[in-house]
Symmetry: C2
Subunit: 178 residues, 2 copies
């Protein structure tokens, strides 16, 4: 049940209410493979994906993540392995490179989920110390964001996007150019 790319871009929504349908590990593996295909600065590939699909652990993560809503059956923590960054990356990889890599990988993952009719939500509001402890994430992994995953309970409309003329400038950011 795969669909055209442009439909997937439109279909992806931030899901905030999930059914209790479990997601198979084979599906999750495919989503992680899609995430890995995102660009990665200096080919660092420092992202790591810690997937909570044990419902006891998922519940604990949710308790310490105010940003999570709707009881997802799966939470994926996207982290950067700072040992690898220190070995092969630069100061800038730590400052922003890895964070942007993680965001692009997460977007691929969320689109790949939408392609399979699954819902996701990117989460930045969580207690990183607690989440790292629950998921036994080592000190040298930096948590970049969480992604919740599951079957959406309801279809929601995307919030309207700004009209193009508010966000697009040709050759000059000078506002008289809009």
């Amino acid at each position: 049940m795969h669909v055209e790319f442009s439909d997937v871009i439109q279909k992806r929504r931030s899901t905030r209410k999930f059914t209790d349908t479990r997601i198979s590990r084979d599906v999750i593996k495919e989503l992680i493979r899609a995430a890995q295909m995102a660009p990665t600065a200096s080919n660092l590939q420092a992202w790591r994906f810690i997937v909570a699909d044990d419902l006891v652990i998922v519940k604990q993560v949710c308790m310490f993540s105010p940003g999570i809503s709707g009881h997802p059956p799966v939470v994926i923590a996207v982290a950067s392995d700072l040992r690898e960054v220190e070995e092969r990356g630069s100061e800038n990889s730590i400052r922003y490179g890895c964070m942007m890599d993680a965001a692009m990988a997460a977007e691929n993952l969320m689109l790949a989920a939408a392609d399979r009719g699954l819902g996701t939500c990117a989460i930045k509001s969580y207690n990183p110390t607690a989440v790292k402890k629950i998921l036994r994430i080592p000190d040298y992994f930096r948590l970049e964001l969480l992604v919740t995953l599951g079957v959406s309970e309801n279809e929601t409309a995307a919030p309207a996007r700004k009209p193009l003329e508010k966000v697009l400038f040709w050759n000059s950011g000078d506002e008289r150019n809009v």
Copy 2:
């Protein structure tokens, strides 16, 4: 000539050699629309897209961007409007929210380009002061990254991705779990 989502994810490459084929503004507008469909924390939509397609300006941007290679006909600067962030966002929007929004929007844009057979490359190595001056980007826009766009001169293979067992952990980041 639109293709299945999963093929687009595989097809996207970082293009470092472009032909001199011009890209129409209608196509660029569609790519920006795809970018706008990415998630945006707190529905902030603070991203702004300053598109250089005037070849004189493109050349100037390239001169101050060591990360750019292969003579792209178009460079798109992805920026965050900090006025909007200060009005409606939080401290965290400035620290990382906008940067991650910009990265996800850029990934959508690059995938939408791949869907149309176009090449792109995300660039973080540039002189932000010079680029902002050339593109007359106002002080209250923060430059997040550049994306080059055009027709790829040659097809290149993607660098091999790490095997899944190196990057995927189930329920615990403890390495014994791998």
